[in-house]
């Protein structure tokens, strides 16, 4: 049973560029959340998608946007990259019943902005 799959695993971008990160949720999960984790910090909530709509958003600027597709996969887009956007970006999937293992994380995409 495949868990949460994220791509790419590593990415280097130049300041001002745009980036798209991808996530395929765990089989049976229909809700996708995105988190940003800076070095030495806990993950910070960016937003959550359910039924192709943004259900909740954290304290991130509009440069961060997302999308969920009919097959429940999701994309995170970041425009006008800043050096401070360098971090590990994590995708977590879950299901409405929020059972015991309701929040499953992928291995993340390491984004470096230079």
């Amino acid at each position: 049973d495949a868990g949460v799959t994220q791509s790419p695993t590593h990415l280097i971008k130049t300041r001002g560029q745009q980036v798209t990160l991808r996530c395929s949720p765990k089989s049976g999960h229909d809700t996708v959340s995105w988190y940003q984790q800076a070095l030495g910090q806990g993950p910070q909530f960016i937003f959550q998608y359910y039924e192709e709509e943004e259900r909740q958003r954290g304290n991130f600027p509009d440069r961060f946007s997302g999308h969920q597709f009919p097959n429940y996969s999701s994309e995170l887009n970041v425009n006008a990259l800043l050096l401070g956007d360098s971090a590990l970006y994590l995708c977590a999937s879950s299901w409405p019943s929020r059972g015991e293992d309701g929040y499953t994380f992928g291995s993340g995409t390491r984004l470096t902005v230079v």
């Binding site: 910090q41 806990g42 993950p43 959550q48 994590l90 309701g102 929040y103």
Partner: protein, 110 residues
């Protein structure tokens, strides 16, 4: 605003030396408290969910407990492979986000 504070920031133990990690939380209405393990450069790996004060859960050398203000992750006779960062997170009713602490970096010395 939900808040999670973990202590200590780092902990070094000899193999077999038992100890506890602390997670203090402030949340408007606790829906669940989660413990995750995270290895360097990897995503968090789910360990436990606790829902109400007094609840306890065990998995191998780990045991998690919950009170109304804090949770403890007890590690008994740890092995070097237990070395990792342990993250605590909470979620409240009417909310969809996990609020994480900054983690405890645990090192087990052979």
């Amino acid at each position: 605003e939900d808040q999670v504070t973990q202590s200590p920031e780092a902990l070094r133990l000899q193999e077999g030396e038992s100890s506890s990690l602390n997670c203090s939380y402030t949340v408007s209405g606790l829906r669940g408290l989660f413990w995750y393990r995270q290895d360097p450069g990897k995503g968090p790996e789910f360990l436990f969910t606790l829902y109400s004060a007094g609840e306890e859960k065990e998995k191998e050398r780990l045991k998690a407990t919950l009170t109304k203000k804090e949770s403890f992750l007890h590690i008994t006779a740890p092995k070097p492979e237990d070395s990792a960062t342990y993250l605590c997170a909470v979620i409240n009713f009417g909310n969809e986000k996990l609020t994480f602490g900054t983690g405890t970096r645990l090192t087990i010395i052979p």
